[in-house]
């Protein structure tokens, strides 16, 4: 890779001086090579042969770094699990630029859709609303609510961009809406900002202070370059500011906002919320639901306090105002409370040790650990139950399953972990 890059520079300087002049009108096939920089995806192995970079190992090391940083910062158990998030999407002229392909707004729309689904998966009791900025004016596209489909449908219909962008107008609007939510909720704003300027009617610093006072956590993802005012906003309100380099980076940045942030004690008042756990009615029953005011046949949920019928959970009873949830909704958040420890990497020498031969298979999927890569040593071990896992299972266990199969399948280790806790 170094050779390739070096040769190109040397070549440019010594032999083909005229090549720089014609660089502007390269042939299409030449341009693809310069754009993609395909030589960067090669690496040299021990014997000097070129081979593609081992993406799996790279991916895994990235993932482990992320896991470690998460576990160090999120040592405390408190998380803001009930979130009220407004997504502010900049639909100014800058959003129609084509530096992201096919355009910034197309990329934003695609990933906002994925984000909203992921958000509701990870925060089942939270709510989202969408605000757009267009022609210097902020508009509320969807009211804050809990149904992913309605947000996505509304967003996909309004994707034309024009005019300037105004951060202040958007923040003022959102601030007004978020002041109405209950005190136990975490107020958050996620701004996806394409423009390089903000065209405001008043003093934006006052607006930022106002957001700070109403305890709104503002985060910004920029699509062009870093802006002072965005950074200032995020610093003042405790949010994060990041600028996307390319599409995959943007995706990564936006999905980072899906897991609940650590709760800041002063931001939301801890409270006990009265909730109802309705029973699912029998399949064939007919009744009028309180949400659509229509007679419906079949499944529904009955409010335990006033016996009104609701079609979907989670919701708020239209008659008595009781928050209705099903216990699986709550249980979906419990893995944030009881996270599993990151696994330790196993030195390769351990795997070749004949005494540990029986441990060469991944405990989860029974795959031979030595087979997963050409090189031995790509294995991890759970610090509690000392079972070996392959890298794929490691990622699956920490990202999706949130259970250690080893710890769960031994009663003794279970008792031990309970004591530790």
């Amino acid at each position: 890779m170094n050779n390739g890059a070096g040769k190109r520079i040397n070549g440019g300087v010594e032999e083909d001086d005229d090549e720089d002049d014609v660089n502007g009108d390269l042939d299409a096939w030449e341009r693809t090579y310069t754009d993609e920089r395909s030589w960067e995806s090669l690496q040299e192995d021990e014997s000097g042969m070129l081979r593609p970079i081992d993406n799996q190992a790279l991916y895994h090391s990235q993932y482990r770094r992320r896991l470690r940083s998460l576990s160090s910062t999120a040592a405390r158990i408190q998380k803001g699990l009930i979130r009220y998030l407004y997504i502010v999407i900049d639909l100014s002229k800058a959003a129609s630029e084509m530096d992201f392909r096919p355009s910034r707004i197309a990329v934003i729309a695609k990933h906002v859709e994925a984000f909203i689904r992921e958000f509701f998966y990870q925060n089942p009791l939270s709510q989202v609303g969408i605000v757009t900025i267009k022609d210097g004016v902020a508009n509320c596209l969807t009211e804050i609510g809990g149904s992913p489909e309605s947000h996505i449908n509304a967003l996909m219909k309004k994707l034309d961009c024009s005019g300037d962008s105004s951060l202040q107008n958007a923040l003022d609007l959102v601030d007004g809406y978020l002041n109405q939510i209950p005190s136990y909720g975490h107020r958050e704003v996620l701004v996806l900002y394409s423009a390089l300027s903000t065209c405001d009617p008043g003093d934006i610093m006052e607006t930022i202070q106002k957001c700070r006072k109403s305890k709104i956590r503002c985060s910004v993802i920029g699509l062009s370059a870093e802006m002072f005012i965005c950074k200032h906003l995020c610093q003042e309100t405790g949010g994060t500011y990041s600028v996307a380099l390319d599409e995959s980076h943007f995706k990564e940045l936006i999905l980072e906002h899906a897991p609940p942030p650590p709760a800041i004690a002063e931001f939301a008042v801890a409270n006990l919320i009265k909730m109802g756990f309705p029973q699912r009615a029998a399949e064939g029953s007919i009744s009028i639901c309180s949400c659509h005011k229509e007679a419906k046949v079949g499944a529904g949920y009955t409010c335990p306090r006033c016996k009104a019928r609701a079609c979907e959970l989670p919701t708020e009873c239209r008659v008595c105002g009781l928050t209705l949830v099903s216990s699986p909704h709550l249980a979906r958040s419990y893995h944030h409370l009881f996270p599993i420890a990151p696994f330790d990497e196993v030195p390769p020498s351990h795997l070749n040790d004949p005494i540990r031969k029986q441990k060469r298979n991944c405990f989860g999927c029974q795959q031979n650990v030595l087979d997963s890569g050409n090189k031995p040593g790509l294995a991890v071990v759970c610090p509690k139950c000392k079972r070996y896992f392959c890298l794929d299972c490691d990622i699956y266990i920490h990202e999706s399953l949130h259970n250690c199969p080893g710890c769960d399948s031994f009663r003794h280790s279970k008792a031990a972990t309970a004591k530790e806790d």
């Binding site: 998380k79 109405q180 008042v269 909730m275 109802g276 309705p278 009663r411």
Partner: protein, 296 residues
């Protein structure tokens, strides 16, 4: 086996991961003996494997102290065909099962008498999901996986969080969890697992006909399920149990920070340690439109 690669892994090829409950505390009190149960189940495995020659069966034993893989038809298949026997070699499966049971029993030595004799369902479910992820990784063409739980022991409340995690992970990767409960009282965990993941839950009334129940309900592949009438859930119990007394409640208090459930108003959350404000939680939970809330 290698013939007709285009028809390889059509939509009716299944991978069935069976979680076999081997809890000795349950089987010693059951009306159906473990050996009778095994004869039903082994015939069922053979039936699945002969329905389609690409079908695969993986058996994971769920014991009282441990869980382990005891059979995988993909690795044992060739040998059995040479002998001209049925695909599931009862001898190799039974041998592994016996080894497992002896090991499981040894682990329970010196263990104080527990209160609830539940099996380690969460462990075997997690292992099954890891195995299924490996099948998903193996390429675009793979058999359609599903999990079948043959359980008799009562639910272990301490496994609640782990089981729910596994259920949601299965739901996310679209793996249905079928469950056949052969114990006395019905299992809320299995009911929820099957309901959430879109699997079938059934509790046979007459255990002597277990093989017929297994064949008619659980042998159908996922593609054919849309054409047949499978037993519908009678109603799923979504009520929660509170963290403080383990009571089942239909109305309760939830900590806004960690979502722990309590049946009474507490001053401090026992899970996350948050101190609750004095504010009327009742009024706060009601939306601003609904000022008037009934007295509770």
């Amino acid at each position: 086996m290698a013939s007709a690669p285009s028809k390889l892994y059509a939509d009716d090829v299944s991978l069935v991961v069976v979680l076999l409950d081997t809890n000795p505390f349950f089987w010693s009190s059951s009306s159906l003996s473990f050996s009778q149960f095994l004869s039903h189940v082994l015939a069922f495995f053979n039936a699945i494997l002969t329905l389609n020659q690409l079908n695969q069966v993986v058996v994971i034993a769920t014991g009282y102290n441990s869980c382990d893989y005891i059979f995988n038809s993909a690795s044992d298949l060739n040998r059995s065909f040479e002998n001209g026997r049925m695909p599931v070699m009862s001898s190799s499966l039974l041998q592994k099962l016996e080894e497992f049971l002896i090991k499981d029993e040894q682990l329970s030595k010196g263990e104080p008498e527990g209160r609830i004799k539940s099996s380690l369902f969460s462990g075997s479910l997690s292992m099954a999901l890891c195995y299924i992820q490996r099948v998903f990784r193996s390429g675009a063409l793979h058999p359609h996986p599903r999990i079948l739980c043959l359980q008799g022991s009562p639910d272990g409340p301490e496994q609640y969080v782990a089981i729910m995690n596994a259920i949601f992970s299965a739901q996310r990767s679209e793996v249905p969890i079928d469950s056949c409960y052969i114990g006395a009282q019905n299992s809320a965990f299995l009911q929820q697992a099957s309901y959430i993941t879109g699997g079938v839950h059934h509790k046979p009334q007459n255990l002597d006909g277990l093989f017929q129940y297994l064949m008619t309900i659980f042998a159908t592949d996922l593609h054919s399920r849309s054409f047949i009438h499978l037993p519908k859930p009678v109603g799923v119990d979504f009520r929660a149990s509170c963290f403080c007394h383990k009571n089942t409640i239909d109305m309760g208090y939830v900590c806004s920070v960690c979502l722990s459930i309590f049946c009474k108003h507490h001053k401090k959350c026992s899970t996350c340690g948050s101190v609750f404000g004095q504010a009327q939680s009742e009024a706060a939970s009601a939306s601003d439109k609904k000022r008037k809330t009934p007295e509770t």
